[in-house]
């Protein structure tokens, strides 16, 4: 295996990993604010990407506008789901909410199939398809593009959480809901915002990855990779989500390079189990200490 090939495969893995990282981030954003596991995150990504694509086809929109449409649709969807459904689930345990989001994911996927069929569709890309040659190494612009755009989005999220009022409010609610409320923070507003934000992050990921994996109702299954990545990195930790995502993407790509068919698909999951054995709260997570 030449070094050039290895670099290409790793970069490709990092691109996939960036998408997993974005998905993991959306899941963690919602979880931190609301303690809910959103099973429907992937399907929401898929539907908002489809909406963007439908608008692009109907009105011949440029790709940048398509992205905006997808993100806006996602924001609306996230807000609606949180207000109309999740918030109604008062008196529900987190198991119940899990089933609600699961039911929602089934509805979204079937709904997308009814609206657009379960076919695969090509999706326009921001990036060129001709590879860039750096010496012997050939890199695909779409991989570089995905990595770059994802990193930019992650930086923006970091800035949001660190320096804006909303971000600080979200962090406060994540740390201690009751105290945050006592400090005058509208916890309900934080709930809505986190769902909207998470959905929008998902939409960006969807538009970035659709040219590579093709737009289809199957795209939502990336939520499983998102959960895996978030757990590997330490669920609840945002740097963990990023680390977990990148690691997962690269491992998924390296495994077929070095391992035979029988074991290569189990490797990411075996790695997850191995990591959890050594670090029960993931790589960057902290084991929750509950006071009695």
């Amino acid at each position: 295996m030449t070094a050039a090939t290895l670099v290409h495969v790793v970069v490709s893995g990092l691109a996939t990993g960036s998408i997993y990282a974005l998905m993991a981030l959306s899941l963690v954003i919602i979880y931190n604010a609301t303690r809910t596991l959103n099973f429907a995150q992937g399907e929401m990504l898929m539907v908002s990407t489809f909406i963007g694509w439908a608008a692009h086809r109907a009105f011949e929109l440029p790709l940048a506008v398509t992205l905006v449409v997808a993100v806006a649709a996602a924001g609306v969807m996230g807000w609606l789901v949180e207000r109309a459904i999740i918030r109604r689930a008062i008196g529900a345990t987190h198991w119940d909410v899990l089933i609600i989001t699961l039911g929602l994911s089934l509805m979204l996927r079937a709904g997308a199939g009814l609206a657009w069929t379960h076919d695969d569709f090509p999706f326009p890309s921001f990036f060129d398809s001709r590879p860039i040659a750096l010496g012997p190494v050939r890199l695909a612009p779409v991989s570089i593009g995905i990595i770059g755009a994802s990193l930019a989005l992650m930086a923006a999220l970091y800035a949001l959480f660190r320096w804006t009022r909303l971000g600080r409010a979200m962090r406060a609610v994540a740390q201690n809901q009751r105290a945050a409320r006592l400090m005058g923070i509208s916890v309900e507003r934080v709930y809505s915002s986190s769902w909207v934000l998470a959905a929008m992050v998902g939409a960006v990921a969807g538009v970035l990855v659709a040219p590579v994996v093709f737009l289809s109702s199957k795209m939502g299954l990336v939520v499983i990779n998102g959960f895996t990545a978030a757990v590997i990195g330490g669920f609840g930790s945002m740097p963990g989500a990023v680390l977990g995502g990148m690691l997962l993407g690269v491992i998924e790509n390296l495994a077929p390079l070095y391992l035979p068919s029988g074991i290569r698909y189990s490797v990411p999951f075996l790695v997850l189990i191995a990591i959890l054995l050594v670090r029960p709260a993931g790589l960057l997570g902290r084991v929750e200490q509950r006071k009695v």
């Binding site: 119940d96 909410v97 089933i99 199939g113 068919s261």
Partner: protein, 307 residues
Amino acid sequence: MRARGLAVAALVTALAAWPWVAPRYFVFLASVILVNVIVALGLNLLSGYTNQLSFGHAGFFAIGAYTAAVLTLRAPATPVVVTLALAGALTAAVGLAFGVPCLRLGGLYLTMATLAFGFVITEAILNLDALTNGADGLRVPAARLGAVALSTDAGRYYLTAAVAAVMVTAAVNLVRTRTGRAFLAIRESEIAAQASGVPVAAYKTLAFGLSAFYTGVAGGLFAFVVGFLSPDAFDVFLSVDFVVMIIVGGLGSVPGSIIGATVVTLLHDGLAAFQNYRPLIFGAILVACMLFMPGGVTQALGRAARR
């Protein structure tokens, strides 16, 4: 007390008489429901009682199913009860082996680990194709009860019903035993239980083993009822289905397991005619169910009874 006895007697009579009054298809469907009841009981032992939510039970189910199938193929003279017991035992062993390292894991980490486990098992089954026939799938011969081959729907139904009855009774009685009380204590508060001297780690591992045993036995029955196994049958969506059954029915309760398994199986069967609308309707029902019956059906019934 009398009412309870009469109710049980009526239920037993109804169950016994079912193959005589119902068309073949509904006898088959009843067997499928009973298999799912056993899985739900097993999953509830783990997730409802000791709070370890598993998204990997399709893996245990598969181990039980393939063990029973391979045993029946290679050693056809084995009585079916032995086959099922062995399927359960092997699955339990795997469950225990898996449960031990999982002790340190809590919440979502444990759940993810079980999901990973389920996937690894299905991959292993796919690749051990000398034993399991891999992707081609495995035709399961009829179970043997002595000289009789259980090759009719009624025969398989009675086997499943008998095993289910035993498993349900065991589960009901479990709650009254020390083990059952320990499980309930762990569910309420692991720390308090530990502080009271309950060896939490041992019981949590035991829960894994018991849960796996139940699911393995159910897997073996599944192999006979459906008659054909393939790795495609045991994916993560099946594991999710099992979780749906216990949450919809009611976590940590035997009636909850029975109701949840029955409702979800009937829904899947009844909705098949809706083709591409099927997941839409099923999903909507799930959302509505949990919005209007938080805690599951048994909790809702309990609240209604108390009013």
